[in-house]
Amino acid sequence: MILVTVKRSILFALQSFWRNIWLSLATIFIISLTFLSINFLVVINAISDSAIAAVKDKIDVSVYFKQDVRESKIAEMKSHMETLPQVERIVYISPDENLEVFKERRKDDLVIQEVLAELSGNPLGATLVVKAKNLSDYSEILKAIDNPAYADLIEKKSYDDHQAAIENINTITKNIKKGAWIISIMFIIIAVLIVFNTVRIAIFTHQQEIGIMKLVGATNGFIRSPFILENIFSGVIACAIAVSVIYFILSLVQPHLNNFFAGVDVNLIGYFNNNFIVIFGSQLVGIIILNIISSSLALGKYLKV
């Protein structure tokens, strides 16, 4: 019996969809635009996230120790620093490793190579590379390093401040996001109004039918479901259209992305592929909930009696 009812609701919904085909198309169009603008937000998010992640990854504090500092002293400092809640991890680089890297990097510089060859020992000290959990944690970490107890050990420390770069990314994306949000909210409001009106018009053209349905004992659910189904149907089609358009645009844009964000790996198609269900599923669920709410609102008055 439930199956029969579901089948009939779907049939009624399809009929109504075709009977008001232009209205249905307008609904689909506007819901598609809503999806597109929301996914533009998703794209901006993805890009800024990977850009910021890339920059963040480059940030750390390097502590260069004097050449004669004993390894145990450094280990002590390392284990002490590791107890700080702000510290993500600390990497110890021995003097030998530092020398290796240095030699490697300057292997074309003949003067340096000569000088190094003449030196008997290793002129370089050890290094600790400290990575913080959050960008804002570096000030605390720098303070900890400035502890007078360590002053004698440390040759110098370097902190490449990418804060400015990150702030730039943040403000740019914030502004773009703001615009995208405004557009999205506008589209959402328009979508609600359109869905609401679609239902209103559908009800109007079915007024007589609804009255008779009630007289012969149709439940409100039975009366309501074709209208809601009709709009869910529009939502699903709009979602499919939005997905196709988005992938089409992404396939055009993707090849240029890596040039544009030099060095930052932004794989939008991959991002959408990996999060397909989350991104489009939640949007579809959202539009369906929206549909049910606006359909119920539009129908409410008619179902009272």
């Binding site: 007589q208 009630k214 012969v216 004992g217 409100n220 009696v305």
Partner: protein, 226 residues
């Protein structure tokens, strides 16, 4: 079968459609409700299918106190009461068969069963050969018979007919009334709301007369006196 206990119905702001009505209709009865326009006849009918609620008093249908019926139980009530109106209330874009089948569809009845019982009921109202006509291809009497078939399709305990002959000529009216009598003989309680003096007087059944929202007469074998 039908009990109205001290029922008053007022419409905002200040119309009193029914005033302290007490009415008792037994199962299997054939009752006519008559009265001038505005005397409250339709209001009684609307109370019985819970289209409106009484302002005071109790409404009991088939032992079921529907005074404060829950919203989602109203459909169940309406499947137990067949209703017929002056304006037929048929869907113009559906055939005779579809119009009757519609009442079963909304109740979730399987197609196979619909295909079986709809022609049976249409045969009872003598429309067995007009299943595929559209309402505009039928006479008024035939349209009303389609409406009656639809009202009967759920095998209701009560058939409520509000001025079913209001739009029909004498011959068609007689056919409809005969049909209602036949339905009553099958055991269904029939409540007929009517203006038509000849119709009511010819019945020789119980007549309840309403005057300004109150029962002024209730006769076992009644006459339309006003």
């Amino acid at each position: 079968m039908i009990h109205l206990v001290n029922v008053t119905k007022t419409f905002e702001p200040n119309t009193t459609a029914l005033k302290d009505i007490n009415l008792h209709i037994e199962p299997g009865e054939f009752v006519s409700i008559v009265g001038q326009s505005g005397s409250g006849k339709t209001t009684i009918a609307r109370l019985l299918i819970s289209e409106i609620k009484p302002s005071k008093g109790k409404v009991i249908v088939g032992g079921w106190d529907i005074t404060n019926i829950k919203h989602r139980q109203i459909p169940l009530l309406r499947r137990q009461i067949g209703v017929v109106f002056q304006d037929f209330k048929l869907l113009p874009k559906k055939t005779v068969f579809e119009n009757v089948a519609f009442a079963l569809q909304v109740a979730g009845v399987a197609k196979k069963r619909i295909n079986k019982i709809v022609p049976q009921v249409l045969k009872i109202v003598d429309l067995g050969d007009k299943l595929n006509r559209y309402p505009q291809e039928l006479s008024g009497g035939e349209k009303q018979r389609v409406a009656i078939a639809r009202a009967l399709i759920h095998r209701p305990k009560i058939l409520l007919a509000d001025e079913p002959t209001g739009n029909l000529d004498a011959i068609n009216s007689k056919e409809i009334i005969d049909l209602l009598l036949k339905i009553n003989e099958f055991g269904t309680t029939v409540v007929l709301v009517s203006h038509d003096k000849d119709v009511v007087n010819g019945l020789k059944k119980r007549v309840i007369t309403l005057e300004e929202g109150q029962i002024s007469q209730d006769q076992k074998v009644g006459k339309y006196v006003i």
